[in-house]
């Protein structure tokens, strides 16, 4: 099966993977995690990557986000080609151009909420844009929790801090790795709402890996992966349509 060509929209591309492959091991034990994947992530678009376990969805995100190396092909963030970068430059790129939201929140327990939010800028030695920071904090509704440490916050609040951290440095693109995986449905909905608002209102670009059809329904576009390849793409998804699509894959998987 060949990859489905993706319709080109008029907007600019925030990140692009071309012919991207990732292979673990050699010979008999060789595992192909990504198999010649080509995909664009457009600016001001909320993309969800879905697929069953082992489909390569996390690997795709890690490679595009500069967290993992790839075997062949190329990855571009904005105008920067990742393949040629050394660890130091890659680290700088992640710091300045990429925001991250993890499933396990991954906040530093020694820092307060506010300090966690400004951490990427602290690392870069930059002063945060005060007005922008305020609007982000207000958006996630953390104004009265800024001096709390992560252990004093609920899971939902912690993830809101993580969302604010990702937004605060105004990155070109935000990657989320199952951002609602550890949250109850209400907190999850809140976080997803913030992400969608950041795309709609602030023009942020967000790419999120998830296995939850409800979470995916918040996105503008869903990409489906299986066996390291993109097998389908859906625009303006709803929870039901995503679920149907996944059931179809499941059935296909069983009959083939």
């Amino acid at each position: 099966m060949t990859t489905t060509p993706i319709a080109h929209r008029a907007t600019a591309v925030a990140a692009r993977a071309t012919d991207l492959s990732k292979v673990y091991g050699q010979g008999e034990t060789q595992v192909v995690a990504l198999d010649h994947v080509t995909v664009d992530f457009r600016q001001a678009e909320f993309t969800a990557i879905m697929g069953p376990s082992g489909s390569g969805k996390s690997t795709l995100m890690h490679c595009v986000a500069g967290l993992d190396t790839f075997s062949s092909g190329s990855v571009r963030i904005g105008d920067t080609e990742l393949g040629s970068l050394k660890d130091k430059q890659l680290t700088q790129l992640r710091r300045d151009k990429i925001g991250f939201i993890f499933q396990a929140f991954n906040l530093l327990p020694t820092l307060t909420g506010l300090e966690n939010i400004t951490l990427p800028m602290d690392i870069a030695g930059r002063k945060p844009d005060k007005a922008w920071l305020d609007s982000v904090i207000d958006m996630v509704g953390l104004r009265d929790r800024l001096s709390h440490r992560p252990t004093q916050l609920s899971g939902g609040q912690q993830q809101r801090v993580a969302v604010a951290r990702a937004l605060a440095s105004q990155p070109e693109i935000i990657f989320g790795d199952e951002p609602t995986g550890n949250l109850d449905s209400r907190s999850g909905a809140e976080v997803l709402g913030f992400l969608r608002n950041s795309v709609r209102e602030l023009g942020q670009t967000v790419v999120m890996v998830t296995h939850d059809p409800v979470a995916a329904s918040y996105a503008d576009r869903v990409i489906f992966l299986a066996d390291g390849r993109i097998v389908n793409e859906m625009l303006h998804p709803t929870a039901d349509s995503v679920l149907d699509q996944m059931k179809a894959f499941d059935a296909k998987g069983r009959t083939s």
């Binding site: 890690h62 967290l67 993992d68 660890d87 130091k88 680290t91 700088q92 992640r94 710091r95 300045d96 925001g99 991250f100 993890f102 499933q103 396990a104 991954n106 530093l108 327990p109 020694t110 820092l111 951490l119 990427p120 602290d122 690392i123 870069a124 030695g125 951290r165 790795d177 995986g181 550890n182």
Partner: protein, 848 residues
């Protein structure tokens, strides 16, 4: 359960390696010390027994080699020797005399260290040989102008048989012809000194008086018992002499050697104890971490039915295995250490009699026992904590949280102990003297323990002080490092404790040493006006001819001997100095309290104010004193002409040499002091050297040399202490490595996240390194402060016995200690920082 324990030992090799190293080093120190002193003691005993080979009885003439007035007293006359020789059962009698003899090398410098430069007589027996000396070249000195030298001295001086050799005794230098070179078991030679053999009449003239011996050795014909000879010899000996069988003497010497070495033994073991004490923290820390890491595992064991005591036993058993294995390795290392110690001593010039290592069962049991005991004791608390893990912990998905148990109990206990310690230190400081020192010792121990208990409490506020600075200087890495350092106060505390203990001792010793050194410096500057002090290399008495020669030296402005004698007043003996009136005040700054030193010339006596006061004497009083070496001593009336403030360089009684000299056959001239025109100059020093005939047996010291003589001793002692405490510091470094490795392991996820959001490798490394430096410096600051405080307290106790005592805090050196502590931190962070920087981000941020 035991199998799980064993598996655990194997599974955590790297972490346990730190514990093992700490135990190994401590045990190596203990076993090395024990084996070394046992070996040394056995070798010396064998050697001394060997020197009595074939000898039945030894008689001592009641002479002492060094001491006022004793130079010519006693002795055994030659005719007594002949009488003993005529006794039934006696095969041979040898008479011995000995004293100081310095040999000049080709450049005119003394060979050897001064105190072990010996001279003696060559006493050939009936076969024409002296059994004590084994000649490899030439033969013994047959004529007065000949000498023989021991092998090493001849080699050092590059002398060959027939060469002429300059030899200094306590008088002028003389040239002798070298007749032979020998090897011997003599103690002075083995200690790295030299031995010159003279022909007997020459030696008698030099060291006793003609036809008198200091010692005689008697050997028996086969079949005669030593006791029978002893019984026969004793009645023939003059008054004051005594005799012993050689066997008894050898036993006595062996005993003396043992007791002398036991002091060394105790000191080395004290340092081993410090090293082990510091190691305890490291071991306890490691086991705490191992238990924390295994919370789930242990909870699972509990869930499937293991009892609390089984869990506890399994941890203790693990400690037992680790303790035993590392003790065995440590013991073997200790054997190497004892061999090393021997060669180190050898390189300082001391020849240690060869002999195989003596490994006594006591040494084996003590070393292994201590190693195992320490490990098990240190693991006790962690084992208890392990037993308390609830079975339900196996089910929880959360990573084991570090113990957040309140520190209230700990802090209360710590505060009480610290307060008791401090109170005891202050009490001791105000008491002064020996009692005060003992009280301070107890207080020091208590407050050290107290502070160690309080260290977790102290860590937060102390590190909080530097936190803002860290953030400012090193940005985010600094800020995070500061916060990480106080994250687990218990662990930070345990890590810093090791360094704190080591540095408390190092700082305390340094401050006391430097303070004493400066006090001595000031004492020298304040009390001496003269330029040079001349003394014998062995600190014995010099001949009057040397004094006369110095008086004639070019450029001499004032000269006084310092003749040591004792003055007996009302049955009490007082140390006295006989000096040259008129010159003495130009050479020593004696602060006159009453009267005048001019009265010395009239045969009056000057007495130190403190001595006079305690006896109720005043200027103008008369006292009856017994002086001189006649028997009975001459009694005379002395008028007190002056009192002076006590001076470290003269005795409490000061008399004129004119008064004293007629009363002694041979004065005991300890030193000659001089003031020269133009002060201390090269030319003046050369003038003195020339006046003494380039005598290798005499030391000429200027004021700086005098200062160095005392200061040098203190410095050497300090360096030895530093060396010994280095062991504790090595263990402290291991402790820091251990803690950091654990922290990195626990914070994998955090570090992974930081890397993901843009902290580069260099900054991750810097973060870990700064954390190590902060913890090290925290421990070091506590050690330096506590050590300085203890030094102050100890100083208070001997404040009164040292005039112008003033506490000196050597800031540069303490600064150096802190700097070193920082370096320790950097070194300790090398490996953990590297592994943190290389952490795989993806595994680190992946959730379970």
């Amino acid at each position: 359960m035991f199998r799980t324990a064993l598996r655990n030992v194997l599974a955590h090799k790297a972490r346990l390696l730190m514990t093992a190293l700490a135990v190994m080093l401590g045990v190596a120190f203990v076993s090395g010390t024990l084996v070394f002193t046992d070996t040394l003691s056995s070798a010396f005993s064998k050697q001394s027994a060997k020197s009595y080979d074939g000898i039945a009885v030894v008689a001592n003439g009641g002479t002492t080699e060094i001491g006022p007035g004793a130079e010519k007293a006693g002795g055994i006359p030659a005719d007594t020797l002949q009488k003993i020789e005529g006794l039934d059962g006696v095969s041979e009698v040898t008479g011995r005399v000995s004293g100081f003899a310095g040999v000049a090398d080709q450049k005119g410098k003394l060979i050897g260290s001064g105190w072990a430069n010996k001279g003696g007589n060559y006493a050939p027996g009936k076969d024409g040989k002296d059994a004590a000396y084994d000649f490899s070249q030439g033969s013994g000195p047959a004529e007065g102008g000949q000498i023989a030298l021991d092998k090493d001295t001849a080699k050092k001086g590059k002398y060959k048989v027939g060469d002429s050799v300059r030899v200094a005794t306590n008088g002028p230098v003389k040239e002798y012809q070298l007749s032979g070179i020998f090897s011997t078991e003599d103690g002075a030679v083995n200690a790295g000194g030299s031995l010159v053999l003279f022909n007997t009449p020459v030696a008698q003239e030099l060291y006793q008086k003609p036809d008198f011996f200091q010692d005689i050795t008697v050997s028996a014909k086969p079949g005669t018992s030593d006791q029978a000879i002893l019984a026969a010899v004793e009645p023939l000996l003059p008054k004051g002499a005594d005799a012993q069988t050689a066997k008894k003497l050898a036993d006595q010497e062996a005993k003396d050697i043992k007791s002398e070495l036991s002091a060394l033994n105790t000191m080395l073991l004290a340092f081993a104890a410090i090293a082990l004490f510091v190691g305890t923290f490291l071991i306890a820390n490691t086991f705490t971490m191992l238990v924390a890491q295994r919370t789930k595992e242990l909870a699972l064991l509990r869930a499937v039915g293991a009892s609390r005591s089984q869990v506890k036993r399994s941890v203790i058993f693990e400690a037992l295995v680790v303790g035993f294995l590392s003790s065995v390795v440590g013991f073997v290392l200790g054997l190497g250490l004892s061999v090393g110690l021997r060669s180190v001593m050898g390189s300082f010039g001391a020849k240690i009699p060869s002999g195989s290592l003596v490994i006594s069962p006591t040494a084996v049991i003590a070393a292994l026992g201590v190693g195992v005991l320490i490990t098990v004791l240190a693991a006790w608390l962690p084992a208890r904590r392990a037993a308390k893990i609830a079975p339900v912990a196996a089910m929880s998905s959360v990573h084991a949280v570090a113990s957040t148990k309140s520190l209230v109990v700990r802090n209360t206990i710590g505060s009480v102990i610290t307060a008791a310690g401090l109170a005891s230190i202050f009490a001791g400081a105000s008491m002064g003297g020996g009692d005060g020192r003992l009280t301070i010792g107890v207080g020091a121990f208590l407050s050290l323990i107290g502070v160690i208990i309080l260290i977790p409490l102290l860590s937060r506020p102390m590190i909080a002080v530097v936190k803002p600075l860290l953030g400012k200087m090193f940005g985010v890495s600094g800020k995070l490092a500061g916060q990480n350092a106080v994250r687990n106060p218990r662990r930070t505390g345990a890590t810093a404790s090791a360094l704190a203990i080591g540095l408390t001792l190092v700082t305390g010793l340094t401050v006391i040493g430097v303070t004493l050194g400066q006090a001595i410096d000031r004492m020298t500057t304040d009390n001496i006006r003269g330029d040079y002090m001349v003394s014998m290399a062995n600190n014995g008495s010099m001949d009057r001819s040397a004094l006369e020669a110095l008086r004639q030296a070019k450029g001499v402005a004032a000269v006084t001997p310092q003749q040591a004698l004792d003055v007996e007043v009302k049955g009490e003996a007082w140390a006295a100095s006989a000096v040259t009136p008129g010159d003495v005040e130009k050479i020593f700054s004696l602060k006159i309290q009453s009267g005048s030193l001019a009265t010395l010339a009239d045969g009056q006596v000057a007495i130190a104010e403190e001595t006079a006061e305690s006896n109720g004497w005043k200027t103008g009083d008369s006292i009856t004193a017994k002086i001189g070496d006649s028997e009975p001593r001459k009694s005379m009336k002395l008028t007190i002409g002056a009192t002076f403030t006590e001076n470290e360089f003269v005795s409490p009684f000061v008399l004129s040499t004119d008064l004293v000299d007629p009363l002694y056959e041979k004065p005991y001239i300890a030193q000659v002091w001089l003031k020269m025109d133009g002060g201390e100059t090269k030319a003046n020093e050369q003038a003195l050297v020339d006046a003494l005939g380039d005598n290798p047996g005499m030391n000429i010291m200027d004021r700086q040399d005098i200062r160095n003589m005392f200061g040098g001793m203190i410095n050497t002692m300090l360096y030895v202490m530093y060396g010994l405490l280095g062991m504790a510091l090595i263990i402290a470094v291991l402790g820091v490595v251990n803690t950091l490795a654990m922290s990195v392991f626990e914070r994998q996820q955090e570090i992974g996240m930081l890397r993901a959001i843009g902290l580069d490798r260099a900054k991750v490394k810097r973060m870990i390194r700064l954390e190590a430096i902060v913890i090290s410096l925290f421990g070091a600051v506590i050690g330096v402060v506590l050590g300085s405080f203890l030094a102050w307290a100890i100083g208070e106790t001997f404040k009164n016995s040292i005039p112008n005592y003033e506490l000196v805090i050597p800031l540069e050196r303490l600064g150096l200690f802190l700097l070193l502590a920082g370096v320790v931190g950097v070194l300790a962070a090398l490996w953990p920082a590297r592994s943190a920087a290389r952490l795989n981000m993806l595994t680190a941020i992946k959730t379970e």
